[in-house]
Subunit: 298 residues, 2 copies
């Protein structure tokens, strides 16, 4: 199976990812190098692709949405760089390559992460400057930046990461686990879909559908990632398998076992699929992501 749209979005992101980084002074080349190292370490670009897909689904231009697509990949990358730090998950490898702090040192990894997060907002607000006299397009951009900030901030991704860290080594608790997944992964995924939809000029009906789609997709995404951590091969995943169990992470496989986790993930993918029924013709890339995740556990 293949998706021409998915591939097109991925090429756009890979090609233009460095374009929206700020013009850093040559004296700060080490910072740019550390940021670029992690950005080009071979991510799947799922979040920016979803943003571009949602934008086109709503009638917008993917090219015009690129600053926001790249910004969410900067945010995703900063979160991984910080997450890998010795004081957090202490991961030596990420996407098959040594993690940032192993190459550049911990201090630089902290600053490269801060730089990526700042660059995301610099890219989005800089893009807004181009639309100061086009109030309709400016509004869409402001809404997109806001939903991204919400989904990746203290009532989204960061909240999830804190709970994830605090749950380590404790008896897994189903309610807490749901809270972690909803925030750590689903809030961010949902926000990129809503951001893309805003940029494309979505109406309330599509926003509601994409919200349901994003939340279910995001939850499935996290559970499947945790399943792959148990059953996947380290080489394919770019990091050692079994890391979660070793770190006594709170995960679905740990709580319910592999089979029940797979069933639950399939149920979530079905709900996501149902949410975008009726939009299939213009949402090839979105259903491709669902198919891709489904294949991983079947």
């Amino acid at each position: 199976m293949n998706s021409p749209d998915f591939n097109r979005y991925k090429r756009m992101v890979d090609e233009h990812l460095p374009d929206y980084l700020p013009e850093v002074d040559p004296k700060s080349s080490s910072l740019l190098k550390a940021m670029t190292y992690s950005l080009t370490a071979g991510g799947k670009r799922i979040r920016p692709i979803l943003l571009l897909a949602a934008c086109e689904l709503c009638g917008g231009s993917a090219a015009a949405a690129l600053p926001y697509a790249c910004a969410v990949e900067y945010i995703q990358t900063y979160s991984l760089v910080h997450d890998d730090l010795p004081c957090m998950d202490d991961d030596d490898y990420r996407r098959g390559k040594p993690s940032s702090h192993r190459i550049f040192g911990e201090g630089m990894a902290v600053l490269a992460g801060d730089g990526l997060l700042s660059a995301a907002y610099e890219a989005m607000t800089k893009d807004m400057l181009l639309y100061l006299d086009d109030s309709e397009r400016l509004k869409r951009r402001v809404k997109a930046a806001f939903v991204i900030s919400k989904g990746t901030g203290c009532r989204g991704m960061i909240a999830g990461q804190v709970s994830d860290m605090e749950a380590e080594g404790r008896t897994p608790d189903p309610q807490l686990l749901a809270y972690i997944h909803l925030n750590k992964t689903a809030a961010f995924i949902k926000s990129v879909l809503l951001a893309g939809a805003h940029l494309g000029g979505a109406d309330a009906a599509v926003l509601a559908k994409l919200s349901v789609f994003g939340e279910n997709l995001g939850l499935a995404f996290q559970i499947i990632d945790d399943i792959m951590d148990v059953i996947g091969k380290g080489e394919e995943r770019g990091k050692a398998a079994g890391g979660d169990a070793e770190a006594e992470k709170s995960t679905y496989p740990a709580l319910y076992g592999i089979e029940k986790s797979k069933e639950y993930a399939m149920e979530l993918l079905s709900k996501a699929r149902a949410a975008i029924r009726g939009y299939y013709d213009h949402a090839e890339a979105l259903s491709f992501v669902l198919d891709y995740l489904e294949r991983q556990i079947n």
Copy 2:
């Protein structure tokens, strides 16, 4: 000497600082606690005060500029929390209290910093949502958020922090030192003045004056801070004196000695003062900041 405006701005910031933090779920109370701990640890609030002063100087409403004033204090605070980490400056105390990582652990300090930076942009973009149908005021807000992102990002504060870190233990180099100060401190200070000015609806002439004012004030601010690190008392500063020398930091006092550093700081303060000549009547708080800095070294 006293400044009614300065005191009024400081009260506004102290009173409203928590108001623009996102509504965090009670399950993430530990995150909010860590963020609030550092926010309320008694900062001088110089940056938000300068923003409010610049806004009123340009005819704007300080109350309407509060989300941006608080956002810059969130950014300032995140940078201190990360800067104090063992892998960075390894400071046990900040503003007279144990630093974040000593109370909450390193992982939480990283996330609290990330949370504060994210909260800054969430506050600013959320405020923009209130002005979607007031294109003039929306534009001002977009410009303010952009200059803040630029001044605190990879061609501003973070660039300076990277160079500062890299310069540690090396022979001090005057050109590099200037680069560090321009970015680490002056770029941020300049950006808050420009942000305030944009929010107040400044014209190009005032923006140019405030840019010169901000850069010179920012450089003086950093040099005086470094002088105080050598001659000041630990108790007053809230951290041990002599920390820079111990860390072999690249500073003006280390390069030129105390007296020459004082002379240079006074020269910079004069340039800053000259830049806002003609605006004195409406810039009482700005000249108060200059006077305050001058008194520290005289």
